[in-house]
Amino acid sequence: MSFINYSSREINCKIVYYGPGLCGKTTNLQYIYKKTNPEQKGKLISLATETERTLFFDFLPLALGDIKGFRVRFHLYTVPGQVFYAASRKLILKGVDGVVFVADSQIDRMEANIESLEDLKINLSEQGYDLEKLPFVIQYNKRDLPNIVPVDELNKVLNPNGVPYFEAVATQGTGVFETLKGIAKLVLLELKKNY
C-alpha cells in the first residue's frame, strides 16, 4: 500500500527483503546505506540479537529523487530469516509494495530457500496478497562462494515464473543496487497502472 501525499508531494513505497536465515538481507541494506549520499538516506535501524541476527526488522528510508514533481521515498525492510521468527515476518509484510527474495546460492541452503519462498507465499496470501501479482524480484546471493548452485538450476527451482533475477555478492556490493533498481522499477510501474 503506497502512500501518496499530494500535500507534501511525496510518495512512499514499502519494499521488503525476504529470504532464509543468513542469506544476506541485512548485508544488502548495509551496503545500500554505505553507498548512498547522506541527504538521500535516513538512519539504518536494526532490531537485532546480540549476534547480529535480525530479531524484528531492519529499516532504511531512502529518498533517491523526484518523479513528476513528487519526492519518491522507498522504505526498505528486511525480515528475520530464522524459522522461529515466523510471527514477526508476517507483520513486516503488511502493506508491502514490492518484495525482493534473497536466495542463498550455496548448495546446502537450497532446502532453506525453498522453505522460505513457500513461507513467503503463505504469509502473503494470509493477508490477501498474491505473490504473482506483486512486484517481485529474486537475488541469488553469495555467488563468491565455492559450493554454489548454477543460476539455471536456481531459476528452475525458485523462479518458475521468470521474474527478474540478479546475481549478487552482497558483502562486496555486487548486484545490490541492480536488485534495488529492479524492484523499484516494478513498484513504480505498478503505480502507473493503478492511478
Partner: protein, 166 residues
C-alpha cells in the same frame, strides 16, 4: 495497488484538516510532540518540537510496536490492544489507534500529565477517525467509478526511473 489494499491518497484539503487537529491536540495536551503514522510506518503528519527528532525512524518503530502488540493480542484472543504507554525518566509516550488505519502518538513530559493526554487524545481521535473515514470512502468510490484523478504517475517512463539511480 495490490488485490486487497486501497492506497492511501491524501489531498491538500484533508491534509489541512488533519494538520489543524494535530496542532490543536499539541496545544491542548501540552505535549512535546504529536504525530500520526499509518500502520505501515509512514509518517502522515506531525506537530510540535520536531527539530533534532528523527521522525522517519520514529514512525517506522511506532508501526513496528503496534504491529507487535497487535500480533500478541491476536495470540491471546484479543482483537487488538488499542493503547501502548511508555514511561521514561523525562519523556512519556502515549500510542493509540485511530480507527483501523492510523496510529496517533503523543510525546509529553512533566509539563503535562497522562490524564490530560488521555482526555485530549480521545477527543482528537474522534475527529481524526472521521477525516480518515472520509479519505477512505473517497478512495473507494473513486476506485469503483474507475475514476483516475489527473494522475502524475500515468506517464512514468523508464528514463524517470533510471534517473533516480544515477
Amino acid at each position: 495497488m495490490t488485490n486487497t489494499a486501497i492506497n492511501l491518497v491524501m489531498y491538500e484539503d484533508e491534509f489541512k484538516k488533519i494538520d489543524e487537529e494535530l496542532q490543536r491536540l499539541y496545544q491542548q495536551s501540552n505535549a512535546k510532540l504529536v504525530f500520526l503514522v499509518d500502520k505501515n510506518g509512514q509518517l502522515i503528519a506531525i506537530a510540535g518540537e520536531t527539530h533534532n527528532v528523527d521522525t522517519t525512524s520514529l514512525a517506522s518503530l511506532t508501526a513496528g510496536n503496534i504491529a507487535a502488540t497487535g500480533g500478541m493480542a491476536r495470540l491471546l484472543g484479543e482483537k487488538e490492544f488499542s493503547l501502548i504507554y511508555n514511561e521514561g525518566e523525562r519523556d512519556n509516550v502515549h500510542i493509540s489507534l485511530v480507527g483501523q488505519w492510523v496510529i496517533l502518538v503523543v510525546v509529553f513530559d512533566q509539563r503535562s500529565s497522562l490524564g490530560l493526554v488521555r482526555l485530549r487524545v480521545k477527543k482528537s481521535s474522534e475527529v481524526l477517525a472521521r477525516i480518515f473515514d472520509e479519505i477512505h470512502q473517497k478512495a473507494e468510490s473513486a476506485k469503483k467509478e474507475g475514476k483516475i484523478e489527473e494522475s502524475p504517475f500515468a506517464e512514468i517512463t523508464d528514463e524517470d526511473i533510471d534517473k533516480l539511480f544515477r
